[in-house]
Symmetry: C2
Subunit: 233 residues, 2 copies
């Protein structure tokens, strides 16, 4: 799961480990405070497997370290200017960028089966956060899988709730859990609806049909429609 998050961030822009962590915390919200003891080994692993490549920030790469944009960006800009003035063989900051292999892995992870475990919410949230990189059909499938999952949960919750002899607190817990699940399902229904309308619109829009009967085709429709403002090397 962490791999997916890392690749997702690098998909849009190259950056170094420390900033990956910051983004995970400030933008995604998931992985609230991923620890370096997790993050750096994950990056090394991804590098060894060829999914990402690294450029030392003082290295021969001509890329001028274009970065964040926000306040973090300003600071990085200052630093870059300074280090440019000082120059020399500095080697802090390893800048990671995603490779072709990495992009393939990313798509594979993104479309792959969700783990049914306890953190299914996190897993789904993460996927949804990167859903813009999915083909419309795969995106819809993701939403519908999640809906089915929640429906199943709702069923077992209702059984538990109908069960006799629960004390006040447990009962309240189960009832609240049921309500939350219903709320989630309603939300998903809205998302699914929006997706369907978007697809219908694009189908009447003169564009090539995005409605593939074969769901195993990840490249139909508008996949990869992330605006890429990065003048990537």
């Amino acid at each position: 799961m962490l791999d997916l998050a890392i690749l997702g961030l690098l998909f849009e822009q190259e950056m170094h480990g420390y900033e990956i962590r910051r983004r995970l915390r400030d933008e995604l919200g998931l992985f609230a405070n991923i620890s370096f003891g997790s993050l750096y080994p994950a990056l090394s692993r991804l590098e060894r497997s060829g999914a990402v490549a690294v450029t030392e920030s003082g290295g021969t790469s001509s890329a001028p370290l274009l970065s964040t944009g926000s306040l973090g960006g300003e600071r990085a800009g200052l630093r870059a200017r300074r280090s440019g003035a000082t120059l020399g063989t500095k080697r802090s900051r390893k800048v990671y960028r995603i490779t072709g292999q990495g992009r393939a892995l990313f798509e594979q992870l993104l479309e792959g089966e969700e783990p049914a475990g306890a953190d299914d919410a996190r897993s789904f949230g993460l996927r949804l956060a990167f859903a813009r990189h999915l083909a419309p059909s795969a995106r819809l499938a993701l939403l519908e899988r999640r809906r089915a999952q929640l429906t199943r949960r709702l069923a077992t919750d209702l059984v538990r709730a109908s069960g006799d002899r629960l004390d006040v607190y447990t009962r309240s817990l189960v009832e609240h859990s049921t309500e939350s699940t219903e709320h989630d399902i309603a939300w998903l229904d809205r998302l699914i609806d929006a997706e369907r309308q978007k697809q219908a619109a694009s189908r009447t829009d003169g564009a090539r049909s995005a409605d593939s009967t074969d769901p195993s085709d990840p490249h139909s429709g508008d996949a990869m429609t992330s605006s890429s403002p990065t003048g990537a090397s």
Copy 2:
């Protein structure tokens, strides 16, 4: 956390590992499918530390294996009758019961600090499921700690939501998360309110005051008011 769940179940009734798992699944809902690879080692650990004691089901103990009550109970009853007829030195089914030490540990875990991590919901749910074993003041404290936690989360979520340039899906995710948190807080407010009223009622009720200014007293008020229908040995 698993220790807490186990002790909580054993607090009310002695039972064997397999049934602990069943109850965790069917009644609590948390730890949906805890694996034996987790459960049995945990039981061994608790036994070694003296928090639980074990009686082999075919052993010298005179306890006639009174069990569940529901359908599981009927089956167990059949089996008990059968094994009573066959007798002999059977030694499957290790029946665990909680010790004095275990009860102390249970209360300590129940009142102890919640982990702030990703599964805070599970942690809180588990505690709430056993909240009837807490002193009213400790119970209220649990609810209010949780409320504070959610309020903090809501604040950071709102910051994230107000942030610009999130794509449609991420934005929807953040907004939904915000709503869910608000829903949770409203629920907690109802629970807290109910607690306060209960405490006020018991205070005017002639009973000894449950409103201790010292929150470190776990035995004031109606703690341990679980009906104990079990003719425990």
